[in-house]
């Protein structure tokens, strides 16, 4: 009896020892979608196969609350090793002191010479130090439904904002449940508002979306009013009323179902559409330009960072390196829909030379038309701005606030936030 007990307890001891041997890395993503999670899980399981005894636990909060969840988790040092850092969260996470400086790792990293020019620079926007390695870049382009535009006699996607408005207005017929512009009402609509509004300017400061080159706040400029009027018209005349409450999912849904055939979105939408829409039914064009003949897209990026309090930093770096290796990077960008950061991928895979990428390539090759412009992301008021921007914009769309009032409110906000 005693012997049996002894053997049993020995077994339990050994077993628990084995369990303890397994290292678990906790990893959190920001831009969660079912497709993206599936692709990530595949990459993770391949990595786990190559590293026995390592387990990666993927946390996937809904996109709309992901940044906040991450802030909360790292501020309380909750177990987290690999964090997805987006351009919007880089400054706050880094200023919290919760991200590991990756420069020592980068210095020893051989593949860094294959990164697209500018990628590492954009990762170093906070005090010149890289706290993440971007694995993909995101730029908005115009997604359009070829089949629906053709039905109404349009062979080409719109080239200017005015053209787009006219086209969308002509298509719109609520009795047939047909609308034009795929509007974004909630869940960080900032970039959508600004892309239309700033297209009326020809002198935006490349380092700050809200300043002109001579340092004036754009909200106090009469051109801002013109631009915003256009944005409101797009909602009132060409978009479903309901879209004031639409986020990313609803937008993509409305595009895929054909209700709204004109959509401003990032390349990740391509990943979602690949499975839901036959590829001859839609195209991707450069963003329409405003009366100024210009448009001001922004260069979004996301990548993985390591928490400063992680106990497995080297292993986390191994994973990041693996993620950025050309094969994995190609798989990731193709499946999920993003622009790869490794130069070799573009030559390796003909997919990235297909017509779907024409819109983006055109924008990259015409800097005189498309000026890639940065947001004041490092400003402490940035988060508050997103909330205010969304809520006040909704008020204007509902007619509860005038365009003049809202522009004044926005100007006052940024003056108080020290932009000028």
């Amino acid at each position: 009896m005693k012997l049996r007990f002894l053997v049993l307890s020995l077994l339990i001891f050994l077993f628990s020892f084995l369990i303890a041997e397994e290292i678990t890395l906790n990893m959190i993503q920001v831009f969660t979608s079912p497709l993206r999670t599936k692709v990530l899980e595949k990459i993770i399981s391949d990595f786990e196969k190559m590293h026995p005894g390592v387990k990666i636990n993927l946390i996937s909060p809904p996109y709309e609350t992901a940044y906040q969840k991450i802030y909360l988790m790292v501020s309380t040092n909750q177990p987290l090793d690999i964090v997805e850092v987006g351009d919007w969260s880089l400054s706050s996470l880094a200023s919290m002191g919760k991200l590991e400086n990756l420069e020592p790792y980068i210095a020893k990293w051989e593949d860094k010479k294959y990164l697209l020019p500018g990628v590492l620079d954009s990762a170093r926007i906070y005090k010149g130090t890289a706290y993440l390695i971007p694995n993909a870049v995101y730029v908005k382009a115009l997604f359009y439904r070829k089949d629906i535009l053709e039905k109404y006699g349009y062979k080409e996607p719109p080239k200017t904002v005015e053209e787009m408005y006219e086209m969308a207005k002509n298509i719109t017929d609520p009795s047939k449940n047909q609308y034009g512009f795929d509007f974004r009402g909630k869940g960080f609509p900032t970039a959508f508002i600004d892309l239309i509004m700033t297209s009326y300017f020809d002198d935006i400061d490349p380092s700050n979306m809200y300043l002109t080159k001579d340092g004036k706040l754009i909200f106090e400029d009469p051109r801002a009013k013109k631009g915003l009027e256009m944005y409101v018209k797009l909602y009132r005349d060409t978009a479903p009323r309901d879209s004031i409450n639409w986020g990313f999912d609803e937008q993509v849904n409305a595009f895929a179902s054909g209700i709204t055939p004109l959509l401003y979105q990032d390349p990740d939408t391509l990943g979602l559409l690949k499975d839901t829409l036959p590829k001859e039914k839609f195209g991707i064009a450069p963003l329409p330009v405003g009366p100024s003949g210009k448009a001001y897209p922004t260069f979004g990026f996301a990548g993985w960072g390591i928490t400063s309090y992680s106990k497995h930093k080297d292993l986390a770096w191994e994973f990041i390196k693996y993620f950025n290796s050309p094969e994995v990077n190609a798989y990731w960008c193709k499946e999920y829909g993003a622009l790869p950061v490794d130069k070799r991928v573009y030559d390796m895979d003909p997919y990235f030379n297909s017509e779907f990428f024409y819109g983006w390539k055109y924008m990259f090759n015409h800097p005189e038309i498309y000026q890639f412009t940065a947001y004041p992301l490092a400003n402490e008021k940035w988060g508050e701005w997103n909330n205010l921007h969304e809520k006040t914009m909704q008020k204007v769309l509902l007619g509860k606030m005038s365009i003049d009032e809202v522009l004044k409110k926005w100007a006052d906000f940024w003056k108080k936030a020290g932009l000028k």
Partner: protein, 293 residues
């Protein structure tokens, strides 16, 4: 000897006190302290006391009056209809019938779901463009144009309250059904002999008998509903243009969007104060009655 007895009693209380202290009192206290500081994502390294600044900022927010108004509507209509419908449901299920167990299990099902998940599901069901509810109403020829349940500010608050009512009915039904089952049969039988009709029985026997349960449940529900941002957060996040914004959603938005945990705590303390005053008042009034709580 007395001291020994006191120490003995005290030592028995330690586990409970410890748990409640760590899980309830400490976070509350910390929240109150936080509300007088400048604790945001950007100021981790320089946290200091800033007096009533956070409170002033909240009270001076031009949308604050609307949020308070929405909160009152939200609580009033949610609890009222949850109670009325929950009570009716309990009455229906009072008499035993075949399959009552399964039936009540199904009825109580919404209560077992997470509020946030319910919010997300309903936001798709009520979607003005491709929602199932609109589709069904259209196919039944009840409506001709889609109803914008969540994007029309005049309907949005009504829509989220509707979902909250759906969610909260089972709780009232469970509590009231349990109370109904405790009414002695003899009371109702003697009422029958006296020739009382159903309405008289309801108002003269049933309601007075279960009054303590009703009072308690309503008290609890008001507190819960006030502290229940899940459904609204999942459905509209307080939008469009603050038309469904209530205090608890407002608090979350400040913490999450602005990453300003101090200002958010200030809203939390305001909610706490309102509930504290309300509970004291409520308990005082109800404890004067002829029944014990």
């Amino acid at each position: 000897m007395r001291l020994k007895r006191f120490l003995f009693i005290f030592s028995l209380m330690i586990p409970t006190l410890g748990l409640v202290g760590i899980l309830s009192f400490y976070p509350t206290l910390k929240g109150i302290i936080l509300s007088f500081q400048n604790y945001t994502v950007f100021t981790f390294n320089r946290i200091e006391f800033i007096g009533f600044d956070n409170y002033i900022e909240v009270f001076e927010d031009p949308v604050f009056p609307e949020i308070v108004k929405n909160t009152i509507f939200w609580i009033l209509f949610s609890v009222l209809f949850q109670f009325l419908l929950g009570f009716s449901l309990a009455l229906l299920m009072w008499k035993p019938f075949r399959g009552r167990g399964i039936y009540s299990g199904l009825v109580f099902y919404p209560w077992a779901l997470s509020g946030f998940a319910i919010g997300l599901v309903w936001s798709w069901l009520l979607n003005g463009q491709f929602g199932v509810v609109n589709d069904l109403l259209m196919k039944l020829h009840i409506i001709r144009n889609n109803i914008n349940f969540l994007s029309d500010p005049k309907k949005a608050l009504f829509s989220v309250i509707l979902v909250n009512v759906w969610y909260g009915i089972p709780f009232f039904a469970i509590m009231i059904l349990a109370a109904l089952q405790s009414i002695p049969r003899s009371l109702l039988e003697s009422a029958d002999i006296d020739g009382a009709n159903s309405i008289a029985k309801l108002f003269k026997i049933v309601i007075p008998y279960i009054k303590p349960t009703i009072v308690n449940t309503i008290l609890l529900r008001i507190i819960w509903v006030m502290n229940f941002p899940d459904i609204i957060y999942g459905m509209t996040r307080g939008g469009p243009a603050d038309s469904t914004n209530i205090l608890s959603v407002y608090m979350i938005n400040i913490a999450y969007y602005e990453s300003n945990f101090s200002k958010s705590s200030a809203v939390g303390v305001i909610i706490l104060s309102i509930l504290f005053i309300y509970t004291t008042f409520y308990l005082k009034i109800t404890s004067k009655g002829e029944f014990e709580i």
